[in-house]
Chain length 160, copies 2
């Protein structure tokens, strides 16, 4: 748990990915969940750092485990960010709904009107993370594109 | 808490409402959540009894409170029952998704394909109950009718 390697930040302060809209929205959402102001003095790179699970970091996490509150709030921040992006591209209110059990299984939904624009099964939430910020941005973009496409293909229901 | 009046069963063994499909489905769902077999020797009336909150019973519950696991499972049983009825009338898989916070607020959804067939805000879950089985059946029918109507009006999305 106190291994120096895992404690070292992985996200560089000059990481180009930090400029991507998706990544900036993630920072907004993560800071929004920061009830105690812990992140006030932290850089964006530092706030995002725990989301990047390198092979070494991943190995340090037990295969079976219960997600803690911090990890769950990161998952929520992620889907909040996706919902914001869907809203931006469709002009319609997008509402994230996250269900996570104690064991780390669950479901992430993004609802637009009466349309389920995104419906993702969640597993191993205690190991929630991405190989890099670019990987995060890539997966996020795929999900947003899919959701926006669904909304545009079913505008009537999305506008209910 | 140990007032004899609250402990007395309110639902009569010969209550006509016990024959209604909605009420029978509620019993099915409540028994399905009975992990320890507590209900094995209980009549349907007895299983349903805690769902009926008379004025006296309601007064005995604090205005502010956290719902316990049993109450939450009753809420889940209710929406599972509604989902089953929606399935029966539409021929499509209907999935209930319940989100309840520790403080007893939340959301109950029934998803049919990519359609949000039901979306109900939950408040005061610790006081979840109905004035009578007939009242339960009446409210349930209203919700089911509304959901079925939405499904039939948006079959394409419901069949996604």
């Amino acid at each position: 748990m106190f291994d120096a390697q895992e404690q070292q930040a992985v996200v560089r302060e000059d990481d180009q990915a930090l400029q991507q809209p998706i990544i900036r929205q993630m920072v907004v959402q993560l800071r929004a969940m920061d009830s105690y102001g812990t992140y006030d003095t932290w850089s964006d790179a530092r706030v995002l750092d725990p989301l990047v699970l390198t092979k070494e970091r991943r190995k340090a996490i037990p295969v079976v485990g219960d997600p803690d509150e911090t990890t769950i709030s990161r998952v929520k921040a992620y889907y909040n960010a996706l919902a914001q992006l869907v809203e931006g591209e469709t002009g319609l209110l997008a509402v994230p709904v996250i269900n996570i059990t104690h064991e780390g299984f669950g479901r992430a939904l993004i609802l637009v009107g009466k349309l389920v624009a995104l419906d993702k099964t969640l597993r191993d939430v205690h190991r929630f993370g991405f190989e890099s910020l670019d990987a995060l941005a890539g997966e996020a973009q795929k999900l947003v594109d899919k959701a926006v496409s669904l909304v545009n293909g079913n505008r009537a229901v999305a506008e209910l």
